[in-house]
């Protein structure tokens, strides 16, 4: 009985670990974006301001969340920076005249609404959020 309980706890721990290593955020885009997938480095370039287009030529506009678990995970998984470092790097571009700060939205619902109605918009939400009117991009 004790061995069964121990094995069950161990399996639960393993499943939890596996679940947590899978990204809980998905990358979404306006239907005008032609591609269905993009590389992690392309995504990082877009959200760091280095690039404003995808390999298929689509002009894209990154959109951010102001705060929250989805934002933290997106930055960690795909940009490799903390929120403070990420904002600081964008402010470098803004204060040197090289870029405008991407739009920041208060909620994931607002993110879906904005991405659905703005050509070229690309953002991110948690997997479980409703996402009608947008397309989900696979990150390779």
């Amino acid at each position: 009985m004790k061995n069964l309980l121990f094995a069950s706890l161990l399996l639960a721990a393993v499943f939890t670990l596996v679940a947590n290593t899978e990204a809980q955020v998905i990358v979404i885009a306006n239907p005008s974006v032609k591609t269905n997938e993009l590389s992690k480095s392309d995504l990082r370039d877009i959200f760091s301001g280095s690039s404003s287009s995808l390999k298929d030529g689509s002009h894209v506009i990154p959109v951010l969340l102001k705060e929250g678990a989805a934002e933290d995970e997106f930055l960690s998984a795909y940009v490799g920076k903390s929120d403070a470092a990420f904002r600081a790097s964008w402010r470098s571009l803004v204060f040197s005249g090289q870029a405008a700060m991407p739009k920041s939205l208060d909620s994931e619902e607002a993110m879906v609404e904005y991405v659905a109605h703005n050509v070229g918009a690309i953002g991110y939400i948690r997997k479980e959020m409703k996402h009608e009117g947008i397309k989900v991009l696979t990150v390779k």
Binding site: S51, A84, R91, S96, Q98
Partner: protein, 388 residues
């Protein structure tokens, strides 16, 4: 030329304001950003940066306000004003930059007006304190006293990124040209001014240059170089409290700069080398011309590490030697520094930094050190900043 360029940018802002009545402010993506910093300096010997730092000085304040609009996805216009106080320098509001930027695609964009000069590794952001760990960038390459005159120029920048393929990475290019003007109270002219030689209209002229940043196939590694040429500059010169009027002539010179940076996860390592060779002459009627000049060769190596989500630490070794100066402490400046930065949140941060400086070539002026300069100084900096 300056007035024409700023006028063109202002005109573009007005032209877009007319149809903007039909668009909401939201559509124009109008943004306002800013930051402010307050620093405190303390030196064990020698007063630095025209402050009374040997007694502790809070005379280091900066504030910036930035307004921009993006009426179309490819066009952006903006203006940034700055207040800068450092000891006896600045204490004025100036136009940092005012530009219109059209980015056709990732391969080509153009920016014109009063624009940041894209030379070296950090010139475009050297005045943006929220961007980096250090309170003071390596002074050998980015001297604070004369920073404002090299930050920007009136003219334009063309820029873009060329993809070289998966095996060769990407090449970012920038080409720039226009006119630069040093004001009569600029830090570059401080020692000359304190010696009684004043340029009442400042010093300026045309320049052109370029920069290449190779983002190598190794993720995080960038290697680059830049060069720009200051062309023949001439300015009115006065001496002996205005009793003498003459001319200062600066011969054309290039400023080559080589740099590399590697960033991965929490680590950043960078290196930069530049050379500033200047030949000039002071001419007063009836008197023989006086040649002046410098040949500064500078480099630094720096590294930073993000210890926690909120705390980063950094260290650098920064050195400059002026080959025109006789042997002794006045010929060089060697500075190693250790820094820490704490981000309370995305808006507020604080920095602390300790410098160990040998040599007196940089940062020290005779007026603030009437008893003479000691060859070594320790400098402590505390700084708080807010940005939005």
């Amino acid at each position: 030329m300056k007035k024409i360029l700023v006028g063109v940018v202002a005109g573009m802002l007005v032209l877009w304001a007319v149809p903007a009545r039909a668009q909401s402010l939201e559509d124009l993506n109008i943004q306002i950003h800013g930051y402010a910093t307050q620093g405190f300096l303390y030196t064990t010997n020698n007063n630095i940066f025209t402050t009374n730092s040997s007694d502790g000085s809070p005379a280091w304040t900066e504030a910036v306000v930035n307004v921009s609009a993006q009426p179309t996805p490819k066009l952006r216009v903006g203006v940034q004003g700055r207040y800068f106080l450092l000891g006896n320098l600045g204490n004025a509001i100036t136009l940092d930059w005012a530009a219109a930027d059209y980015k056709a695609n990732d391969r080509f964009g153009v920016r014109f007006g009063k624009v940041k000069s894209p030379s070296g590794l950090l010139n475009e952001i050297q005045d943006i304190d929220p961007s980096y760990v250090w309170s003071l960038l390596p002074q050998s390459v980015y001297p604070l006293e004369s920073r404002n005159s090299v930050l920007s120029h009136y003219g334009g920048v063309v820029y873009g990124t060329l993809k070289l393929g998966d095996k060769l990475g990407k090449l970012e290019y920038r080409g720039f040209g226009g006119q630069r003007q040093l004001g009569p109270t600029d830090g570059y002219l401080l020692n000359q001014r304190e010696a009684g030689l004043v340029l009442p209209n400042g010093l300026g002229g045309t320049l052109e240059g370029g920069a290449l940043h190779w983002k190598t196939p190794l993720p995080g590694l960038m290697i680059g170089a830049s060069d720009f040429r200051d062309n023949h500059w001439t300015a009115q010169l006065t001496g002996n409290n205005g009793a003498l009027t003459g001319t200062e002539k600066v011969e054309p010179f290039n400023l080559p700069d080589y740099f590399a940076r590697y960033e991965k996860d929490k680590i950043m390592v960078a290196y930069e080398y530049d050379r500033i060779p200047v030949k000039a002459s002071l001419q007063f009627p009836g008197l023989p011309g006086t040649p002046i000049g410098l040949d500064e060769r500078s480099w630094y190596g720096m590294a930073s590490y993000k210890l926690t989500e909120k705390f980063s630490a950094g260290v650098y070794d920064s050195q400059l030697v002026d080959h025109h100066v006789a042997l002794g402490p006045a010929r060089y400046s060697k500075d190693w520094a250790i820094s820490g930065r704490y981000d309370f949140n995305q808006y507020l941060y604080a920095k602390a930094e300790q410098h160990f400086i040998r040599g007196t070539e940089l940062g020290f002026d005779p007026d603030m050190n009437p008893g003479g300069l000691k060859p070594a100084t320790k400098l402590t900096i505390l700084k708080i900043g807010v940005s939005f």
